[in-house]
């Protein structure tokens, strides 16, 4: 016993080192695995508050651009509305009953955005208080951004599409072939679409959209255009480089997508798994 205690005292620095190293490795491995509630996260009160404070200052420098972007989006939406022939184009009142869709949108503001690492996260100033929950989709007016991964009372953390753990269902606009969207960590404006079957007919400049095969994103949200493509080694699937519509290095305001049918779909899936 005495010897054990002596040993512990003699090597206390190395043991402390090993203990702390083990702890940090646990955090690291946790951060590399998708979908686990994480201990180390910037959604907490101090860091979230500080980023919010920093952003409230730097926000003023981008107001002009942000205004322009909103105007453009309004213009686009008004054009779409007039195409649909909804007779409420001229009035400002829209009640929710007249649009029967399971999807509702909530706006939010990006207060921290990474794009230079392999695993990038985005911090947004809306949280549980604004009924944001895990697994909501996040988009801008131009295209998708990512999926909500963790929420605290006032903040939420979004796993960006520029993250090696992110896998999002996406496909071609003109046909029904689809694959999964991943990122190889190189260029923040180019993502990769994998496992698109060889039968697909591709062309440079084709549009890639979400395909609505999961409960997170509705069908038809823009992602980007094809810049290049090649067959993989087995000659059975295409590897496609997609240039994003969004400039991931410059995101201001975003929308959360809430799917109100998610409970029903989950229930049905649970039944079919039994």
């Amino acid at each position: 016993m005495q010897q054990i205690i002596n040993f512990l005292i003699r090597n206390k620095h190395s043991l402390l080192f090993l203990l702390l190293l083990f702890l940090s490795l646990v955090f690291t491995i946790q951060s590399h695995s998708y979908h686990k509630s994480k201990f180390v996260s910037s959604t907490n009160f101090i860091s979230g508050g500080m980023y919010g404070w920093q952003h409230s200052i730097s926000d003023y420098f981008g107001l002009k651009d942000e205004n322009m972007r909103l105007l453009q989006e309004n213009e686009h939406l008004r054009n779409q509305l007039s195409l649909l022939g909804v007779d409420s184009v001229t009035t400002k009142h829209l009640d929710t009953i007249s649009f029967k869709t399971p999807y509702t949108f909530t706006q939010g503001r990006v207060i921290k955005n990474d794009y230079s690492k392999i695993d990038n996260y985005i911090l947004i100033n809306k949280g549980k208080k604004d009924s944001i929950v895990t697994d909501m989709g996040v988009i801008t007016d131009k295209g998708i951004i990512g999926i909500v991964e963790q929420t605290s009372t006032n903040y939420s953390r979004v796993i960006s599409i520029l993250n090696s753990n992110s896998r999002i269902n996406a496909g071609l606009k003109k046909s029904n072939q689809y694959g999964s969207l991943v990122w190889n960590g190189k260029d923040p404006n180019i993502v990769q679409l994998e496992t698109v079957p060889r039968q697909a007919i591709l062309k440079k400049g084709d549009t890639i959209i979400t395909h609505g095969r999961s409960t997170i994103f509705p069908r038809g949200i823009g992602i980007g255009t094809i810049v290049s493509y090649k067959l993989d080694e087995n000659k059975s699937y295409y590897l496609i480089d997609v240039e994003l519509f969004n400039d991931m290095t410059d995101i201001g305001f975003i929308y959360f997508i809430k799917n109100s049918d998610i409970k029903e779909i989950k229930q049905l899936e649970a039944v079919s798994n039994e």
Partner: protein
Amino acid sequence: MNRDTLLHIIRFISLILIQVLILNHVDFLGYLNPYIYIIFILLAPININKSLFLLLSFILGLTIDIFGDSGGVHAAACLVIAFFRPIALRTVFGLSYEFQTVKLSNTRFGEKLAYVILLVLTHHIVLFSLEIFNFSHILLIAKKTLFTSLFTIVITMLILVLFRRNDS
């Protein structure tokens, strides 16, 4: 609490703030950020209690991790250089370290540079290996380590030379 302790506490906090609020958003050439917060570890007193030093380094790294959403990579890298700092000191400064008379502010430029290079390289190798965490990306790890180290070393040396205390 004497003046030196206060100085170290202020340095600890201000380095974290500078790193998190400014330097993490530099993104020079797309992906280069200097990690100068390790100056705290470089400048910690030679005769500091070793357990305390390890704990402080861990907390320093973990704070950067919390702000950067990077899991525990900075904590691990800081811990490693804190643990191996005595070896680096002995290699670079030799005898004067053994007698505990070394003061980083009045050593020669070459020795200081060697010390900084040694620790920054170690830190960045651990950091990027854990951050990327994939051996098929080993070239990317090497590239990021090399260029970021260069960037960090230049800025760290500038700060060490500019903010030198001439109290000797």
